[in-house]
């Protein structure tokens, strides 16, 4: 890690470690939440790049019908790993583990999270899980080819290394639980004096809601995957239909977690956007309470709708009715958020810096993801669209187009705070434009071909879908070009010692902008006392009136 050239009388967290070790040891044994956040950032990005490469190869294979560059078996393994890595190693930990870890304590005015050693332990679990997932590729038998859903009985029958993949997901789930547990307790116990629940930044609200889902839903997937492992290992009859088991029960259990997991992914990104928009519009957020409560509402309703992933399995009519009905309810709080964000731009004083641009892309793409979600929430339409590339496009719009772009927004927003330097804004703007165009070119055609009947997870396809696949693959190249520019720009910004970032480059008013960039080891010398709400920009308004 390069040390920072910023001249301050005080050492920042890069220069001062929490333990007696120097060099790598000071990082691997650190209990400082900021260093752990940085550890997460780099390990997560590594996994992200790996999974992007897999995605790129998958798209390349699909550029034309028939075999292009790989065998069907390889293809099946690649999309499985792409899913496992992206979901468990990038999107779920992305905002909470990286930016939550780094920013949560600072934003609530604390010196660290409440259980710093547990925090480091979570990171080790994350790394262990990630390594198992990646190493399973190279074991004899090859990596799992089941899809990230591990549906039984295929996951019991296949000869590939399913158990390592299941174990990886189990360990990663455990890591996620411990992070959630840490955050809830930290938020309850360590808020600075005066920071009541309704003076908390909205990012913290979203992390709080997320953490509850992490704690209460993740164990279900843990036990379910464990049961499949046990079934494979010992031949115990649990889900295997040949032994009387019920594959649909597996799907219920899987989605009891995995649907709420969608909210684990999206909620922090929503919180992120709620942070960014007021800062760049220099005005208070529109409808703070509604945004805060809609996070909780999403967490609650999100746990009631899992079986809308299963409308074609032959469930009872009652279940079909109730799950479809409630699915529409979960879209209400999301809609409320979108309307409030757009209203926050109204009469602001807007500076279209890279973080805001990414946030606007988020809103646009999240809207598309949400609307297509409505389409597949409609029962009769769902029957047709289930398991087609329409679904693939829908969830990529939500997971990548929204959460992924939320992560990018967070990177550009907090970059100067984390590293104390600045990236090149002009290049960042270009990267934003290219990634946004690339993303939409990549995934939008999938909606059309999905409706025309292109099933998902297909190695080969009928000639009539060729054009859409071709456009989509070209989109993937544009997207990757944008990502390369973005990462290169950020890495260059990190190494750049000239462009020292000020304490508060964007004019934010939450607590993280009141500590130096990068923050010192214990964040605050004195715990601040909070007296105003998190988005109090009245000083800009007042200053404007005075000059008049």
């Amino acid at each position: 890690m390069n040390t920072q050239a910023k001249v301050t009388e005080e050492k920042n967290f890069f220069q001062q470690s929490t333990n007696k070790y120097t060099g790598i040891g000071s990082w691997l044994l650190t209990v400082d939440h900021k260093r752990i956040g940085i550890l997460y950032l780099f390990s997560m990005m590594t996994f992200f790049i790996v999974a992007v490469i897999f995605g790129f190869l998958i798209r390349l294979e699909l550029i034309a019908p028939g075999k292009t560059i790989m065998e069907p078996q390889t293809y099946n393994q690649l999309f499985t790993l792409h899913g496992i890595i992206m979901i468990f190693l990038f999107i779920i930990p992305g905002l909470p583990a990286v930016f939550g870890n780094f920013m949560l304590p600072i934003m609530i005015g604390a010196k660290d999270v409440i259980f710093p050693r547990l925090n480091l332990f979570s990171w080790y679990l994350f790394i262990a899980g990630g390594l198992i997932a990646v190493v399973s590729m190279f074991l004899p038998g090859g990596s799992a080819d089941t899809g990230w859903m591990f549906y039984v009985p295929y996951s019991i029958r296949t000869t590939t290394n399913v158990i390592p993949a299941l174990t990886a997901a189990f360990i990663l789930g455990f890591s996620s639980i411990l992070t959630g547990l840490n955050f809830i307790t930290t938020i309850h116990r360590m808020r600075a004096p005066g920071m009541s629940w309704f003076k908390m930044p909205l990012f913290i609200w979203s992390l709080y809601a997320t953490a509850w889902i992490q704690i209460l839903a993740t164990p279900i997937i843990g036990i379910t995957l464990l049961l499949v492992s046990i079934e494979r290992w010992f031949g115990v009859g649990i889900f295997d239909p040949a032994l009387g088991g019920d594959p649909i029960l597996y799907q219920h259990l899987f989605w009891i977690y995995s649907h709420p997991a969608v909210y684990i992914m999206i909620l922090p990104a929503m919180g992120m956007v709620s942070e960014i928009i007021p800062v760049f519009a220099r005005r208070t957020i529109f409808g703070y309470n509604f945004i805060a409560f809609s996070s909780i509402a999403i967490a609650f309703f999100g746990s009631l709708v899992w079986a809308h992933h299963m409308f074609t399995v032959g469930m009872s009519d009652t279940a079909m009715f109730v799950f479809s009905f409630l699915t529409f309810f979960v879209s209400i709080p999301s809609a409320i958020k979108v309307f409030n964000w757009v209203s926050t731009l109204y009469k602001g004083s807007i500076s279209a810096d890279p973080p805001l641009l990414y946030a606007l892309s988020f809103i646009f793409q999240f809207a598309i993801g949400g609307f297509t979600g409505l389409m597949i929430g409609v029962l009769s339409v769902n029957i047709h669209l289930q398991d087609t590339s329409f679904i693939v496009a829908h969830f990529h719009y939500v997971m990548f187009g929204s959460t992924g772009f939320g992560i990018f927004a967070a990177m550009h927003y907090w970059f100067p705070k984390m590293f104390g330097t600045m990236y090149n804004k002009k290049i960042a703007n270009w990267a934003w434009a290219i990634t946004t165009i690339g993303f939409n070119t990549l995934y939008f055609p999938m909606f059309i071909m999905g409706y025309l009947g292109m099933p998902r997870r297909y190695y080969d396809y009928l000639p009539e879908f060729h054009t859409y696949h071709l456009v989509s693959t070209i989109g993937s190249w544009i997207l990757i070009l944008g990502l390369i520019i973005m990462f290169a720009n950020l890495i260059k910004g990190m190494r750049n010692k000239k462009d020292v970032a000020p304490m508060n480059p964007w004019g934010g008013v939450t607590l993280e902008w009141k500590v130096p960039s990068p923050p010192p080891m214990e964040n605050f010398h004195e715990i601040p006392t909070v007296t105003t709400g998190p988005y109090d920009y009245s000083h800009y308004e007042l200053a404007g009136k005075e000059t008049k």
Partner: protein, 107 residues
């Protein structure tokens, strides 16, 4: 401190509770638990049809309530702990209830 809710939560930092439960109380609860176990075992012998399982679960719930509130000191903890436990129970209830929306009504 500007906020009263904040105040109560944080004052806990310093005046850490030290509620001591006497040995006798534990012994009493233990006897109760044994008695309930006895009831559930003997009730299992009587044929009550579908009510057997309901009775068994009700007794088990009473037992766990005793363990939770006395052995695990939930009775003496802050309100927020009790809310947490209810949230967890509610979540599990939702999971099982909604799963049975499928299984109870299957054609």
């Amino acid at each position: 401190m500007t906020n009263s809710e904040q105040h109560t939560e944080h004052s806990e930092h310093h005046t850490e509770h030290k509620h001591i439960v006497e040995y006798g109380k534990y012994l009493f609860i233990w006897l109760g638990l044994l008695a309930l176990t006895g009831i559930t075992v003997s009730a299992a012998g009587i044929n009550l049809g579908n009510w057997t399982i309901v009775l068994a679960l009700v007794i088990a719930s009473v037992k766990s309530l005793l363990v939770l509130s006395i052995f695990m000191h939930l009775k003496f903890e802050d309100k927020v702990f009790k809310i947490f436990v209810w949230v967890a129970m509610l979540t599990f209830a939702i999971f099982i209830f909604f799963t049975f929306l499928d299984y109870s009504f299957i054609r």
